[in-house]
């Protein structure tokens, strides 16, 4: 009986459907990810068991660096037409007698990372071409009682967006003094509810052990 002879052909798999599928998944993931914004200060958030995710909108975030500098960040609101950031900056400009051009307001609107610039250097900061120049201007928002710009930012942020929620993002090594100052300023403005930004950590309790 003659043997059945299979044709020797290199096994070639058609990968086109696989590539199609991967493309779809990849595009989906790329569009849904929110890129992490580079922060002006490195902050390692402490751990907690809380599982509430951080809200996407209506937040003002206070970044407390280890060296005591304070940075602040707002969002533009859930709708692109709301443009909270330029409105807040304009109010700040009116308060301190600084006129911001539309281009500067737009630059501020597009900025996503926290800022820690005294208001008199804000123009320089917004017009800076280089990131290094920008970072050198980030000396932290002044919070002395004589020139409490942080309180003004909070005031105008709440005027522009009444639903704004205060979030605190601190390094676990940040001294308590600067935290207390920020809490104090917020409480002076009747903000008594805070969200502390933390990383998730599991905690287990052995009940039997306690009952002994």
């Amino acid at each position: 009986m003659p043997k059945i002879k299979l044709p020797t052909k290199s096994p070639h798999i058609d990968m086109t459907p696989m590539v199609d599928l991967f493309s779809v998944v990849l595009i989906f993931l790329m569009l849904t990810t929110t890129m992490r914004q580079p922060e002006p200060a490195n902050v390692d958030t402490p751990f907690s068991i809380s599982e509430t995710p951080i809200p996407d909108f209506n937040t003002m975030t206070f970044l407390l660096a280890t060296d005591g500098k304070i940075f602040m960040n707002f969002d533009n609101g859930p709708d692109t037409l709301l443009k909270y950031r330029p409105k807040i900056l304009q109010e700040m400009g009116n308060r301190y007698g600084i006129e911001f051009t539309p281009a500067e307001l737009r630059a501020f609107e597009k900025m996503k990372s926290s800022m820690g610039v005294p208001i008199n250097q804000m123009k320089e900061y917004l017009n800076a071409k280089d990131n290094n120049v920008r970072n050198s201007l980030q000396t932290g928002i002044p919070i002395d009682s004589a020139d409490n710009q942080l309180a003004m930012w909070i005031l105008f942020a709440r005027q522009v967006n009444p639903n704004i929620q205060a979030c605190l993002k601190g390094d676990s090594k940040t001294g308590f003094e600067s935290v207390e100052k920020v809490l104090d300023i917020l409480q002076d403005r009747n903000v008594n509810r805070f969200s502390l930004i933390t990383s998730l950590e599991a905690a287990k309790i052995n009940l039997e052990e306690i009952q002994q």
Binding site: H12, M15, T16, M18, V19, F22, S23, V25, L26, L29, M30, T32, T33, T34, R36, T45, P46, F47, S48, I49, S50, E51, T52, P53, I54, P55, L64, C167, K169, G170, D171, S172, K173, T174, G175, F176, E177, V179, E180, L183, Q187, D188, N190, N192, R193, F194, S195, L196, I197, T198, S199, L200, A203, I205, L207, I210, Q211
Partner: protein, 227 residues
Amino acid sequence: MAEIIVEEKAKGGKRKAKKHPPHIDMTPMVDLMCLLIVFFMLTTAFSKAKVMDIILPEKIKDPTKQEAPRISASRTLNILLGPNDKVYIYPGSVKPEDYSAVPPNLPPLTETDFSAEGIRMVLLERNRALFRKINDFNQEVISGRISISQDSARSMVSKLKSDDDTGPIVLIKAHKSANYGNFVDILDEMNICGIARYTFVKIAWYEERMVELASGGAASQATASAN
């Protein structure tokens, strides 16, 4: 890398490509895409930060018009956050005649830390009844004996907490030498132990003294370097 295999045949001196679809080797492309997908999947899953909500008592702006709330001293537990991740606790409160005496008559502090055997044991010990109730309820929800939506389960737990009248009333106070991590840790312990009543209050001057005495100079050193 794209490998285009086109079979050619010489015919009458002229080279003419055979009508055959060119075949591209897609393996490297697939490899690359796999890597990108894995990268994106890993980064998205972990990028969302969590928040812990805390409501602080409203500031009393005019002490003459508004009186500080009275709480029973027997249920009060004071937690003082000190330097080097240390926690100091003392029960009850200090009477004005005690701290204004010369020398001040201050209660002794118990030193503990943030480990599972430290402050957590102290809190669970005092909050055992409520913690047990919450734990039993959660177990029944998890095991399916009570079918209840997540929201109503949460409101049940908060009702258990507000009905509780035996657990401690915890007052958290932070010394200047403590850090932000300690503050979050202690609030986290409150959540872990299911403490119904806790709040964060400003440290009193005599409590600062107590921490400085108990820590043996570490706290005053930190204060000096901060100034």
